[in-house]
Symmetry: C2
Subunit: 743 residues, 2 copies
């Protein structure tokens, strides 16, 4: 009986257990089971997926991308440019490794070209009209690349046409101080100035010259500035090394504002109102033309007059004289003029951006944008095709994951292959102007990788302080090229570092104050957290201003693969780092934008400003207290938000709470925008990161306004300092209120 | 055995069933049960709660609010104003019916006051210096209210001080055309002009006068314009009716821009940079002073010269002559001058907004703002205290629900009791300037109820077209005062209606193109969907410009309760309607902002623009096609978004999908903002709703630019038309892209 009872009990238990199991697992609870989307909305970044991404990024594929991109010159709006448009579209529409969608967006933009039928000329002409010397029309070929008929003659885009003729003078870098100095030694009216690259913007060399009556400007790259002094193409310069051959000429845009010149602050559509060409601000008022240093040598070493100051001397084995004006009496060029025949002309042409997207799964209305320009001056292997090769490899790997159903990012990713950057960041700026509100409302971050590899020594990054941390995190997971047991981060910190009050020794990340690449519109016009990432030089090994083939006909696949990044491991490291940053921005539950790091930078700027300006401002009855209070509010709000993030179990919170925090992190930069911040440069609205001519590591508008008031002493200028201080303080206060509790 | 088997099976079944029940109901499923927040995030507006709200809104409480608010005059920054600050704070901090939080925010603002020790004077002075007549200094008392020493003397705020003396002329409404006409009949230099209210802005009457050499201006309210012709206080005007007594004077701000005058586009904090007083734009350049119609009668009926045109004649029983200039030879005032002694002075004073919030439960970072100003000119029973009484009743009912734990809105509600509106919408504008980015990023809508009840005949509403629908919905649920079986909506449609292509006959909702109340900064500067709601006149019964006691010492509790809204049922209807709108905006799962109604308005504007301008624009080679395409894109995008909303089961979707749609609806208006849209009026950035002087029911910037170009014929002006067309088309395109699929 006992046995039967026991068996019965046992059977009963078994049956009960079976029942419990059926009841628990076999029947769906109605009305209380989690909707299927709950799991998705709380998903965070997947570290395995990142490892997968890193392992798939292939240096050989990047190399092949570069080879294909650089087959022919692809200056903006040329047939070669269209070839790259087609290539991008083909890749991004590939059924196995493409994006969800890709398309082109077109703008009618104002570019400037030389006349292929009437090349620009620079010559030395004696009083009887005989031409004693003519500068090379095109660069000397060392490979077949330079012989491509599509290689554009070196020229200064947006230089006016004209045929000025006059005595030559040497004006160093064409800075205002250079012309001022030169003008004290002679009458510059009617002269032609020869200047070297560096020190002042390209167009500025002509803009600064014109007030002195100078009628034309030449510009060249001095071997001291680009070649560590080396000059000979017999054994020193390319193709023997990365150095610039004597006939190499840096092309470039000589305009100073970004975006299409005829449609400022509007998208350059066909019917858009265009300002008259003569109203374009910031263009060279007199003809200017770049030449190679071989021709510059011929001219400069024959100049008469007194010797120029020591810091005007370059790499030539002769004394750089001012010019009398003109050449030495002992020169064959004695009494001769230099004549420029410039036939550049403006043209409204159709330029394309190629856009591609991966649609976000959870927050499709949040964008992470990754971009680079597509157009080059010639073959543009480094500028910009190194970046484009990297972008294509990132999209191949990510696109493949999407196509195989392995992955879809939380947020949408937009890839932009911008057109006409070389003419003034035009494609990216028109895009920003066209979609200003949408981008401003939805974009979490912009990643720019233009020249991916200047050199293969170390990572370099610039950006808003809030993006520093995600770049650190990503770079720690990538091996430094050629240094298997060292991370990109560990290598980086050796080359660039600083001591942060919060983090101790860390790599130093630069600020995006200027307009050097396509981040400009995103930073200055839209106030979007942006960054620019590349591999760069070991500065102990070279003083070159930039990689020597920059904007010349030598910036080719051969040059890149032989001298800049053999094996393409630098490219690979950049693709891995930038791609990792991209995935983290797109997939993290909480956006990896660190507002406390922003606060640290504002505090540093404040300390500098106080030590530089406070005493004099007090004397003018202008208080810095509102600025101090604002920076302090920002710091406290950032600290508090950090605490909220770290003390919350966000994976179990309502997705709208996470979204609220993400919106605070994403949108805080918008509060720094004020279209009235810089009255003279409307394209710059971000009060913290504008370009400054005062050259102080502090708030740019304050620094510039202060410098102006200090120099003029006018009370109206001190009022402008006070006004800007109010704009600045209120912008920082407003940013603090974005980070503070929302209600 | 069979029995035993049966019993065993039965027992087994029972045990199994028990097990299943335990397993299903007794054990929580780990990892698969719905988080507690799932229910909250999909909750929609609760109709029972709305009925509860409607039933709790109490007309007697509104009446008592008004009585308390109007005990003493409460002009901005006076002791009476501070009394109302304390009242608002006390109510909003009440433990049983207050809000979550309430506080004051202070701004140092530039106001203009008369000198209590040296009252402004208007007199008739004969050639020997004898004063033949002096206008009343203050209004005649009929109740003790008018005897309060705090009643400010009638004056024109922001009129300069000065003591001009000259011959009087009658200039009708002081429009440019009026002075132009008058100037053709005589030399106006050195004269004083008397004008009647209406036709031109207050300050414009002086601004328009100055170019003709006129040195002072008087302004009064003509009985024809305000009293349906009635004049006698023996039996016709207040206290016998709502009509203005003969000594009643409309005070007002005579400045033309909104916000603090010394800190344009910056919050007026203590340390904020202030422009010099003499740089304030838009102020009267010559002294101006308002007087009662009794004094105006004395002056006008004595004027000499020719009879003014028929449409210049007002309600006096005499002919309105131009003035010779000066009085008739037969007048006792013959040869006399009119002298103004104006002692107004500017003063920087501390003005407070009182802010109160109810924190949102699900989306605290989405705001619905409800506001009204608190300051009056005198007792301000109607303007603004009718609105404040309504606001206090809404907050009492909602606050009580919150305090009793019955309700918490999905989104945060912010209540603003603005300061210094009467001096140029200052409190609300400073608030908008201080929190521009935050408000722009987070505010779903702004509801303005200033004068709640002009009269008790019908609802009147103005706003962005997108808010029309929620006002309709709310007003259908409220009984019209005095008409129990008629809804506010049904009553409204009798007074104001139009035929919509989509909806058929509906009440017509006005547009907020001007800056008549505190919605201005929200509409024009921030581009937030806004509305203004009130009860108003039966126009078949009166032609009064506005309720006759407007801005006078007769706008008292007695006046309001006896003549405007006896029983306060109009107030109650407004509280119910506006409160219902507020709850719907705060609680609806999908924001009740209808983008298709916006599209309909844009299409109407477009049709008008095409019929008015296309032919002439084509002749100037300016295409309207981009505008047509943009409006069409907007319409298609709106239709598509509507379809997405209606075809989705949003209550079962991820809350981030709902949020995405809500952000599209909320942020679409931001795309219409462009600080470059109206170069002369930076405070106006919304390309669709700015004030226009051309007076056409179409895009205001286009209408004004066209009118200017048509009149000047200058090609530069036609360029500006083209430019504005580009700005406008691109703004509409950008708005369309906000509504279109996000990626």
């Amino acid at each position: 009986m006992l046995k039967q009872v026991l068996i019965g009990a046992l059977c009963g238990s078994v049956v009960l257990t079976i029942g419990i199991l059926i009841g628990h697992f076999g029947i769906t609870k109605s009305g209380n089971s989690a909707p299927s989307w709950v799991k998705d909305v709380v998903k965070d970044v997947d570290e395995d997926l990142i490892q997968q991404f890193l392992s798939e990024v292939d240096n050989v594929k990047i190399q092949e991308n570069l080879r294909e991109l650089t087959k022919v010159p692809h200056m903006a709006t040329t047939a070669g440019d269209e070839h790259t448009v087609q290539l991008m579209l083909k890749r991004w529409q590939d059924p196995d490794s493409g994006l969800d969608q890709a398309w082109r967006e077109e703008y009618m933009v104002y570019l400037s070209f030389p006349d292929p039928n009437k090349p620009n000329k620079v010559s030395v002409v004696n009083p009887s009209g005989s031409v004693l010397h003519t500068a090379r029309e095109k660069e000397k070929p060392y490979t077949s690349d330079q012989e491509d008929p599509e290689v554009v003659q070196p020229y200064a885009a947006y230089s006016p046409a004209g045929e000025p003729k006059g005595k030559l003078v040497y004006a160093n870098q064409g800075k205002p101080s250079d012309y001022h100095h030169l003008n004290q030694t002679m009458d510059l009216r009617g002269t032609i100035a020869i200047t070297r690259y560096g020190g002042a913007g390209r167009g500025a060399k002509a803009i600064n010259a014109a007030p002195y009556g100078i009628i034309g400007v030449l510009v060249y790259t001095d071997p001291l500035d680009i070649n560590d002094g080396l000059m000979s193409d017999v054994n020193e310069t390319y193709p023997h090394s990365w150095y610039l051959p004597p006939s190499g000429v840096e092309r470039g845009s000589f305009g100073s504002q970004f975006g299409d010149k005829l449609t400022p602050y509007l998208a350059a559509k066909g019917d858009t109102y265009r300002i008259p060409e003569e109203s374009i601000p910031g263009l060279p008022p007199i003809p200017i033309q770049p030449i190679g240093f071989k021709d510059a040598y011929t001219l400069i070493c024959e100049l008469g007059g007194d010797a120029a100051p020591q810091d005007w001397q370059g790499g030539f084995n002769c004394t750089y004289n001012f010019g009398a004006p003109g050449f030495k009496p002992t020169s064959v060029f004695n009494d001769s003029d230099v004549k420029l025949d410039i036939f550049n002309h403006g043209k409204i042409v159709n330029s394309s951006n190629v856009m591609g997207v991966i649609r976000g799964s959870v927050e499709p209305d949040r964008y992470v944008i990754y971009g680079n320009h597509r157009d080059s001056w010639v073959h543009g292997a480094i500028d910009p095709s190194s970046g484009t090769s990297v972008m294509l490899e990132i999209t191949r790997v990510l696109g493949g994951m999407v196509k195989r159903g392995k992955w879809r990012p939380r947020r949408s990713i937009i890839f932009g292959s911008w057109g006409a950057e070389e003419f003034g960041l035009i494609g990216s700026t028109e895009y920003a102007e066209e979609y200003l509100t949408k981008l401003s409302e939805r974009t979490a971050a912009y990643i720019n990788v233009d020249i991916a590899v200047f050199a293969n020594a170390t990572l370099r990054a610039s950006g808003m302080p809030s993006v520093q941390n995600v770049i650190f995190k990503a770079s720690k997971q990538v091996s430094a090229p050629g240094l298997d047991s060292t991370s990109v981060y560990e290598n980086w910190i050796r080359y660039f570092n600083r001591t942060s009050p919060t983090h101790g020794l860390i790599p130093s990340v630069g600020y995006l104050t200027g307009a050097g690449s396509d981040y400009a519109a995103f930073v200055h016009y839209l106030g979007i957290a942006s960054m620019d990432i590349s591999y760069t030089y070991d500065r102990s090994k070279t003083n070159a201003r930039i990689y020597p083939a920059y904007h010349t006909a030598y910036d080719t696949f051969h040059y890149a693969s032989k001298f800049i990044d053999p094996g393409f491991v630098g490219h690979q490291a950049v693709a891995r780092t930038a791609g990792n940053v991209l995935i983290r921005l797109a997939d993290s539950l909480v956006l990896p934008l660190n507002c406390s790091d922003y606060a640290e930078s504002l505090e540093e700027y404040l300390n500098t400003a106080v030590s530089l300006y406070q005493e004099q401002l007090q004397a003018k009855n202008i208080s810095m207290e509102p600025l101090k209070r604002a920076v302090s509010s920002f710091g406290k709000a950032a600290e508090h938000l950090d605490q909220v993030i770290h003390s919350s179990d966000l994976a179990n919170e309502t997705p709208l709470k996470v979204r609220k925090i993400n919106d605070q992190l994403m949108l805080v930069d918008r509060a720094f925008l004020n279209p009235l911040a810089f009255p003279d440069k409307y394209g710059y609205r971000h009060v913290i990161w504008a370009a400054s001519s005062a050259g102080k590591p502090t708030f740019p508008g304050l620094a510039d306004a202060f410098a102006k008031a200090e120099s003029s002493g006018l009370s109206g200028d001190w009022d402008k300092v006070h006004y800007h201080l109010s704009v600045l303080s209120q912008a920082i206060d407003a940013a603090a209120s974005i980070l503070a509790d929302v209600i």
